[in-house]
């Protein structure tokens, strides 16, 4: 089989230490904190108040807005507070804190959804609370319902998992292979898309073998191995690698006839269609130089990350940085009290030695960032423009096409904070547009 790839990218050490770690189920935590916005789009409004009792799978937050997904309780217990907290970035989010009663009573009306047409399917997807589990957290029912002027012919299943350390999608491929194939078939059936391609990096031969075996009876599903290089698993990159189509600037994958779904997302979808249990738990890779026992843990959504780390034996050294997500694109966290949310796929803790930032020096115009940029941008130029506050000019240089994969910062010999600088520029442009 021909191995495909793209121009650019970097080769960070893979560090997939937890490949062979079977998923361990973590018990019920002391408390769960469930944010009302775990996705891109409008935040939900809380449907419960302090003192209410809730059950597993009960909808505790929802909104009328289309680009959004409902939020469910992951435990049965009592709501202890509904307040506003800053979870990530600079957006205060309403959070519901629940004290579990330990019984895990399931909400009575949870049953497999009855689906007879496409609208039923999309409704069920929305009710499942599914958002992109790969990282971005885009509501799945919106993604599966592309604008009318597009003609989608390919469903791409993203199992590339190109970020170092993370192995949660790999474990899904190994442990729930059947579910993945069922999920893909359900999506193909109800959306009318004709074929599906599973894109997976060639450093996971075991998963490729299992997926090929499970899908061999279904000619509409192909498994395509792709070169192991970061950021192979980025949506637009994977589309280019697998189909040769390039998503134009400012357009959606659907504009080139593709929909990309994460492998864990389709697998969850299959189990939802079978059981009706919404998205209340997530497999999380716990790893990093400070973690005593790296593992893949199945965690209830809303579990404080401190309890997850404690479950993995705590820390060997005082962590200097805790990252939610992968080391390349993940977000550093400041509090151990923050919860695991729907799109958390890894929790990494690094000691000070591994987390420290090297000193920044001047750009020497070597052009390595240009070579590494998978989106064919000029990162060093964008960095210069942003620091000179020439945001509009940076916009003309397509700063908004940057997906913040961090390849430029990774490869920079002068250790410039290029990605951060680009982030500032994008934020400034957004603010200017809102004015």
């Amino acid at each position: 089989m021909k191995i495909r790839s793209f121009r650019g990218g970097v080769h960070p050490p893979q560090s997939k230490n937890t490949l062979e770690c079977e998923t361990i189920k973590m018990g019920i935590p002391e408390k769960v904190v469930i944010p009302m916005a775990q996705h891109i789009g409008a935040p939900c409004k809380p449907l419960v108040k302090k003192g209410d009792t809730v059950k597993v799978g009960q909808v505790i937050g929802d909104t009328e807005s289309y680009v959004s997904a409902p939020v469910h309780s992951s435990v049965s217990g009592t709501v202890t507070s509904v307040d506003t907290r800053i979870i990530s970035f600079n957006r205060p989010i309403t959070c519901i804190e629940i004290k579990p009663d330990g019984l895990q009573e399931v909400k009575e009306d949870i049953k497999p959804p009855v689906i007879s047409n496409r609208d039923d399917f999309l409704k069920a997807v929305r009710e499942s609370g599914l958002t992109g589990l790969g990282g971005a957290g885009f509501p799945a029912h919106v993604k599966l319902n592309p604008p009318g002027d597009t003609n989608v012919d390919t469903l791409i299943i993203n199992a590339a998992e190109c970020e170092p350390y993370i192995t949660s999608d790999y474990r899904e491929c190994i442990e729930n292979t059947e579910n993945i194939v069922d999920g893909i078939r359900a999506v193909l059936k109800w959306t009318g898309i004709s074929r599906a391609i599973i894109g997976i990096e060639d450093n996971k031969p075991e998963a490729i073998r299992k997926l090929e075996k499970a899908s061999k009876d279904f000619s509409e599903i192909t498994v395509q191995s792709v070169k192991t290089i970061y950021p192979q698993g980025a949506e637009k990159i994977l589309i280019r690698t697998l189909t040769g189509r390039e998503v134009p600037s400012g357009k959606l994958p659907a504009n080139v006839g593709c929909i990309v779904m994460n492998v864990t997302s389709v697998s969850f979808l299959a189990s939802y269609l079978k059981t009706g249990m919404p998205l209340i738990k997530k497999r999380v890779t716990v790893d990093g130089s400070s973690v005593k026992n790296p593992a893949n843990v199945e965690v209830l959504i809303g579990t404080p990350i401190e309890e997850v780390f404690n479950f993995c034996g705590g820390f060997t050294t005082e962590p200097g940085k805790i990252i939610m997500g992968g080391p390349m694109m993940g977000v550093a966290f400041y509090s151990m009290d923050l919860p695991v949310i729907k799109n958390t796929n890894a929790l990494l803790a690094f000691s000070d030695v591994h987390a420290g930032l090297p000193e920044e020096t001047s750009c020497i115009r070597c052009g390595r960032c240009v070579k590494a940029c998978p989106m064919n941008l000029l990162p060093f130029e964008l960095d210069r423009l942003v620091r000179a506050k020439l945001y509009e000019e940076a916009g003309q240089n397509h700063i908004l096409d940057c997906m913040e994969c961090g390849s430029c910062s990774y490869t920079c010999p002068a250790k410039r904070r290029i990605t951060q600088s680009i982030r500032i520029g994008k934020d400034a442009l957004k603010r200017m547009a809102n004015k």
Partner: protein, 267 residues
Amino acid sequence: MSVIIPVAIVSGLGLFFGVGLSIASKVFEVKVDERIEKVREMLPGANCGACGFSGCDGLAEAIVNEGVAPDRCPVGGASMVKQISGFMGIASGEVVEKEARVMCDGRFDNIQLKYKYEGIEDCHAANLLSGGAGTCNFGCLGLGSCKAVCPFDAIVIENGVARIISEKCTGCGKCVEECPKHIIHMVPVTSGFTVFCSNKDKGAVARKACKVACIGCRMCVKACPSDAITVSDFLAVIDPEKCTNCGECAKVCPQKCISDSRVRVTA
């Protein structure tokens, strides 16, 4: 002999171009309104752009040609406005000279840090990371984005908080626009007592975030003899127009977040 020819050629060329240029300068002369130049000289000449025109030249032109009021320039102050109004023969309204003030006292001794910020020294960058490293989500980030844009070198970062040097501040308002937390306000230079806090959280939360946070207790409102203080969103605000700088509010404030800015500057 051989030296005479080149000398003659060069002198001849010089004469030719000289005559040509002097004729061209008369024929193609651009009439410049002398008043623009005069007004331009009266303006401060800092080219800060606070007026919204392209530097002082742009404003001078706009004052003369478009009748823009000279108080569009916040930098020059009352004397400049009077001078230009007099020159242009227009009435000058009352000019309130303003200066910028940072409504935060969240120095390192008053707040704690959530995390250690590493990266680009820019408040916008820090603000993107959970609203900055300080425990207070409303306060000064102390990375000096305002300092970087100040054309008059009037801002210093002291102990994690930006402070405006009153003598140098011309009131151009560039820092007000730049601050991602919107905690720099323009106030009349005469105003003294100020609530140095921007925290809009409930009292208990605010107190946890910062030792000198306004908790919205309304003690100052009760103490104020001239009704100059209002509390909204758990934050007291002094109306400088009503304030008489009597200092009663600062005496009763349990959080010590009201103080006389005039004393601060000299202290």
